[in-house]
């Protein structure tokens, strides 16, 4: 057993930390306030090699590991969780789908440029009537000469307005339930494909979240990805891997909450002493540090299992669940430590709480994660 990161893992961490401090941290508060999704940041992330970090070099990636990717998501999210979320959705879901299930042709056309950072990728599963229940998918794909015609609507799809390609799930075989769902690749600008970033969100405000209207969108046969009827079941590994990255965002927010609280506790004086000298505050900080460590260990274990090609679904559900709840607790305690100052926008901690809340909802709610874990225990 070895808990130590390899030297190149530490180099990835240091490089991304430096980059995040210099290129992403400035303006994070303003982007949150104004709801600005800054593509320039993603251009720079692409240059650094972040947008294809765990993808093989022959497909335009950096040839890194999922563990390194989880570390990178943590470091980005530590300064700006919104950027972390769009980064994670691009790599885990968009690029991850292409990497795991794309044909050679699809990889050439979409994976290579997406991994190089030439465009973002998105993954459209959720619908107004299909959240935790993917079986509720109403978007249909009607077989026509040479391809399919998609119609319906998707909701809460990260990156979908800016993305060069979006994976869209639709019912090809009604009556077969979740086995009748198939995934298709829809390139940006396809006729009838209308994404719009219309939400006024509580948090993750600098991440692009789109509604998509699909009005008779024709896609050719070779746009199908993962096989007919495999649009949900074939993508379970992609979704499991996505959970690791959501966990990593949680670790980043929790760490940022701890950092901000430690700083504040060392400055703020009450009753003639720094509040960090009071046990009431020390105990909160100790609990936060412990939960950060636990969340990080779980997330990194799940990533490591994936890198070792071992089953990781159970641990990734635990990592996602624990890290997102730890982020909520840490952000909430960070506000408590900051007192009134924590409740106003002059300090970043209220943003941490708003951002953290999404993690308990997106990519499988906390309730669904508990269900997954329970089923892993053999419970039905």
């Amino acid at each position: 057993m070895d808990f130590a990161l390899a030297p190149e893992d530490r180099m990835v961490a240091e490089t991304v930390r430096d980059f995040a401090q210099t290129e992403i941290a400035p303006g994070a508060a303003e982007r949150d306030r104004d709801g600005i999704f800054d593509l320039e940041i993603f251009r720079k992330m692409g240059e650094l090699g972040l947008l294809g970090l765990p993808i093989a070099e022959r497909y335009g990636g950096a040839g890194g590991t999922y563990l390194q990717y989880a570390i990178a998501v943590e470091e980005v999210s530590r300064v700006c969780a919104s950027t972390g979320l769009s980064f994670a959705a691009h790599v885990s879901l968009g690029v991850g789908s292409l990497n795991l299930l794309g044909s050679e042709q699809q990889k050439e056309r979409y994976l290579v440029p997406a991994a190089r950072g030439e465009f973002l990728a998105a993954f459209g599963l959720t619908e107004p009537g299909a959240g935790s229940d993917a079986g509720g998918t109403r978007t249909v794909a009607r077989a026509v000469e040479g391809g399919f015609v998609l119609s319906g609507a998707k909701s809460f799809i990260t990156n979908a307005v800016s993305a060069g390609v979006t994976v869209v799930t639709a019912v090809t075989d009604p009556g077969k339930g979740t086995r009748g769902i198939t995934a298709f690749l829809v390139p940006r600008g396809t006729e009838g494909f209308h994404p719009s970033a219309a939400y006024d969100k509580m948090g993750m405000r600098a991440s692009e979240t789109a509604e998509i209207e699909l009005r008779d969108v024709f896609v050719p046969d070779d746009a199908m990805i993962g096989g007919r009827g495999e649009g949900l079941h074939g993508f379970l590994e992609v979704l499991d891997a996505g959970r690791i990255s959501i966990g990593a965002i949680g670790v980043g927010i929790a760490q940022a909450s701890l950092d901000a609280s430690l700083r504040y506790a060392g400055e703020r004086e009450q009753f003639g002493s720094k509040i960090g000298s009071f046990q009431a505050i020390q105990f909160k900080l100790a609990d936060m540090a412990m939960e950060v460590e636990m969340a990080r260990t779980l997330v990194q274990k799940a990533a490591w299992l994936k890198d070792q090609h071992q089953p990781f679904g159970q641990v990734s559900a635990m990592a996602k669940l624990f890290a997102s709840e730890a982020a909520m607790r840490a952000a909430s305690q960070a506000i408590q430590i900051h007192g009134g100052s924590g409740y106003i926008r002059e300090y970043p901690v209220e943003r941490y709480l708003r951002d953290a809340k999404l993690l308990e909802i997106g990519e499988g709610t906390s309730e669904i994660q508990r269900l997954v874990i329970a089923r892993g225990l053999g419970l039905r």
């Binding site: 030297p7 190149e8 180099m11 980059f19 650094l48 090699g49 070099e57 990636g61 950096a62 890194g64």
Partner: protein, 252 residues
């Protein structure tokens, strides 16, 4: 134009340093090591020289296996080759002798080092290497322009800038402001992992005897908190200040 860059691995400046039980070294446990920040400017400048004039960038360090990390960072930034020199280097002079012997063998057109390492702040090695090689040296360089025969460097001096002309081969030491070091790219990190680090042993006959010996190393004594006088009128305040300086601080 072939460039050798001298790099050193130093404790991250954010690390809390403890002195080890022997009292002359820092305790390496729990210390996060990074490439000396001034050496990052040196690596960046060497890469720019290569981009402009062609040639190769070789990074060189003296140390144990742990120091490979600093070399790999430079490789990830884009350096072509790395050499780790193992030698019994105990002070700046023995270190410089070891480096000079390897540089002589590599035969570069230019050697660039950071102006000083931020751990012991001696700032000697670059200059000593130049002296041992009998090459021109320009220290604290903030701007550099090269031609095949020589170069012009700007260096920081008190209250201004000095412009210096030199011939090649030469040794330069890099000051902050020389450039903006690039990030090690992530594909670069993965490629650097696969590159070989050449190990060169320099024996004691070459390094010779050290001329400096560290006899003690202390962390600064902790200072007690200051006293702020407030809520008094000027006369009372002055009186209290005099009393404290006389009775407590015993300064007057």
């Amino acid at each position: 134009m072939n460039v050798v860059v001298l790099v050193k691995q130093v404790p991250d400046t954010a690390t809390r340093i403890k002195v080890s039980s022997g009292g002359v070294e820092i305790d390496p446990r729990g210390v996060n090591y990074v490439m000396n920040p001034y050496d990052e400017f040196a690596v960046e400048e060497a890469l720019r020289v290569k981009e402009l004039h062609g040639g190769q960038v070789t990074v060189l360090t003296v140390g144990g296996e742990k120091a490979d990390e600093a070399l790999r960072t430079a490789l990830a930034m884009g350096a072509d080759e790395a050499v780790r020199v193992s030698a019994d280097a105990k002070d700046p002079l023995t270190t410089a002798r070891a480096i000079a012997s390897v540089v002589r063998e590599l035969g570069p057109d230019l050697v660039i080092a950071g102006k000083q390492a931020v751990d012991d702040d001696q700032g000697q090695v670059g200059s000593l290497v130049a002296a041992l090689l009998d090459w021109p040296q320009v220290t604290v360089v903030t701007e550099l322009e090269l031609s095949p025969e020589g170069g012009v460097a700007e260096r920081e001096v008190e209250g201004g800038v000095e412009v210096v002309e030199f011939s090649l081969p030469a040794v330069l030491t890099a000051q902050k402001g020389l450039n903006e070091p690039r990030y090690a790219s992530l594909p670069g990190i993965m490629k650097a992992k696969r590159k070989e680090i050449r190990q060169v042993a320099v024996d004691a006959a070459v390094t010779g005897e050290p001329v400096l010996r560290t006899t003690a190393l202390h962390v600064p004594e902790e200072r007690s908190a200051g006293i702020i006088l407030r809520d008094m009128d000027a006369a009372a305040l002055a009186k209290e200040l005099v009393r404290l300086l006389h009775e407590e601080a015993k300064l007057i």
